[in-house]
Symmetry: D2
Subunit: 257 residues, 4 copies
């Protein structure tokens, strides 16, 4: 039986979602998207240059069959984000939306207050809302309560490549909400992606780690494999950690790092 997961009316097999920003050119992006095996690709509505047609338009370079996930990157208020989401729908990009309400230009951390407000409005308007949030369990619960289809906590700041800086909070979020938890942002390399899946994330979304790698297409393959590896390792049931093989009990957290 296939190991699938769902978002609103969509069902997916791949657990890697990818972005379209920061590539050096569209052909490289296209090859990386294909190599990633991703079924969902996120696109910044505000960064679409609607005057471009044909091969000059980013959307032309998205491999056929991928599900579009328009996002509200570069929106700094709930109002901007709501209007941007609506624009995406008017452009026929579908009812999914990755909701970003940025609270700080420098670090790109979300403004969780604006995020919850915008989510509430967009859910009522029939969007399937996937909010990019921080790793705060209380905010995650609010986002679930207003009807978001998933929550997408960051592993580390966007573009930082720092990996999962606080797996503890991610674990608490997974204990707290019933909607799917996707890790969004922070992944730097393959082991980070595997770790996110091993922690129990339903899927992982990334952009910079692939787009700005020295070899984006090869890194896309690495990430495809890493997400698959982490998912399988979770399902396969890992061995417990012990100080050594003869230790009579699993490690308890006396050693912090």
């Amino acid at each position: 039986m296939a190991d699938t997961w769902s978002l609103g009316k969509h069902t997916f097999t791949s657990r890697l979602l990818v972005g379209t920003g920061k590539y050096k050119d569209f052909p490289t992006m296209q090859r990386a998207l294909a190599a990633s095996g991703a079924e969902v690709v996120t696109v910044a509505v505000r960064r679409l240059d609607l005057s471009k047609k044909g091969a000059e338009s980013l959307l032309e370079w998205v491999p056929k069959g991928m599900t579009l996930l328009p996002n509200t990157a570069a929106c700094f208020t709930a109002d901007e984000a709501v209007r941007t989401a609506r624009l995406g729908r008017e452009l026929d990009m579908g009812e999914l939306v990755k909701l970003e309400v940025i609270g700080d230009k420098r670090t790109l951390f979300p403004d969780v207050e604006g995020l919850v407000q915008a989510a509430r409005i967009l859910v009522k308007e029939g969007f399937t809302v996937l909010p990019y949030t921080n790793d705060d369990p209380v905010t995650a619960k609010k986002l679930e309560d207003v009807g978001c289809a998933a929550v997408m906590p960051l592993g580390a700041p966007i573009g930082s490549g720092l990996g999962l800086r606080n797996p503890y909070n991610l674990r608490i979020i997974m204990e707290t909400v019933k909607v799917p938890v996707l890790v969004d942002a922070g992944v730097g390399t393959a082991s980070d992606a595997a770790l996110a899946m091993e922690l129990g994330a339903v899927a992982v979304l990334m952009n910079t780690a692939i787009a700005e790698a020295k070899e984006p297409v090869l890194m896309a393959e690495a990430m495809r494999d890493a997400v698959a590896a982490g998912r399988k390792a979770l399902l396969a049931g890992r061995i417990p950690m012990k100080l050594h093989a003869s230790a009579s009990s699993p490690m308890t957290g006396l050693i912090g790092s």
Copy 2:
């Protein structure tokens, strides 16, 4: 061009090496070995029951085409290890040997003094010697100097599942020796294997993490994917770590963990 690596006269594509201990039964072992995609499989010469024939013999269950890597597990002196290696050769198991000289029954840490002695002898006798060692760079250099074909430092104690407890020493070993560095022991889950490859290991050897997982066959697949992912991520060139995307310089190690 294929991304291969070599040990003595052998050339391999897979960078995962697997063991044959601790499986609940031979059929499960066989399916896990196949699922792992490994080309090299290690077998404890001392644990072979030579009175068993046909389907009762472990060797019958090793998938055809895999390269045997006899090991000297359960040897506590250089002399025992040397005699065990010779026995393996007499049994037609080939000239490769994974050399273990165990210094402590409880933790299974190697006795590095005996290890270097045994390695020196076996190299002179024409073996292609792969020593299981600790993460000490000085010992790694001695093993290279006596002619070992590779060094195999542990990531953590055998069977502990603790992952790579000291990536710093592994990195120093990789800077210190010219022979291939394989990480042997300590891997607990897929992200550990990916991380070992990202650090620059030529390959990873594991046994318990697969054999004692709840679903060994699925974990074998996970490890296959994880090793491939980590290798590709290394070659693809990961993004630098920064405190956040706008930070002007990569992180230096002021934050220890």
Copy 3:
């Protein structure tokens, strides 16, 4: 020149702030408070039993000369917290307030939306507000903007003893706000407290780590020393991290853990 710090009209020398909850009895609490060297002690207004007089009253057991920091523990809305803060002032506990608006009974994470609302009101009423918050830099900035005298991000969940789970976010908060940053919650042992100070925290507030240690008075001394040690180490300017002494450049963050 003394190394002091200020909160509103108060100036302090000790950088350890302590709580009064969870002690097995008042005499033990009193000795631990004294041993800690702390000048500020926080008291839960809602947990004061105002019917108790004399030796039965917690406040009687607070060493003379300590500055009271009434807190709004066990408040789950902005409104409750505001009313509790006012009650503290009516009880002559001064104008300082450690503001807690709890968003989740189980984990005791703050509700940052309610926190900012309550802070805005209390600042206008003349309180010197110290909000217990999560490690979100955007929320920290909002708390500064509404006039809080400091921000107090958690190192880990209250009572968890997990130490500083995300030093990266704490560092970003310190770069983001100009008011003092105090680490509140999460400290489990002395090295955690030292680390918080080394990261640049102005002070550390803790309760469980002392009150529930096997020997609270000795742990209070340990924490006193650890906070002093971490502060001095910060001022003394630590050596850079390098892979080894001959390495030509400081470590950059290629090794995540």
Copy 4:
């Protein structure tokens, strides 16, 4: 009752041991040694310039009453180390010796084979031998077996400032040997020293972290306080780690970092 520890015929109260290398001048060294509260100071016999007399001689600047611990730094063979230890005794530096047999000029890791050889000889000659070793439990046991008075595993390479890179091995060493375990090398800042003591080290020896701090005298104070803090925290019995305060069981090691 005082919390003391012993080495051979000596009993000490301070658990910080300090070095004399790398200071910019003798007066700074003298003030730092005094500020550290250390009772034991280690001196490299090979680096003593015996032609210098009075104020030009390093030994003149060691505060009165400190116990000298001559060391064999810069010795690369067992033979060199043995001869250097004897020279120290002839110079009336006492019977204690910090034994170093360096295996690699670049990283200053010990040569454990030469170390055990030299230790065996020096113990027979009546020295109280404190070997600087790596974090290998098998070597630690050999050193105990040949009669060393303590073992001194490194936390990280000399001068690296990386802290305790493998607390797991240090813990295993403490379980393995009965002689005192002192952490020697690797400490970079105060929290590292506290952590070493919390793990169960009997004492900590450091040099670079103090001598090359921007303000060595203040860092010496920080280290004095940190070692005291870590020791007290160990004795006081820390609270268990939990995912959050309501978690029903302590953390087991599912989250590796």
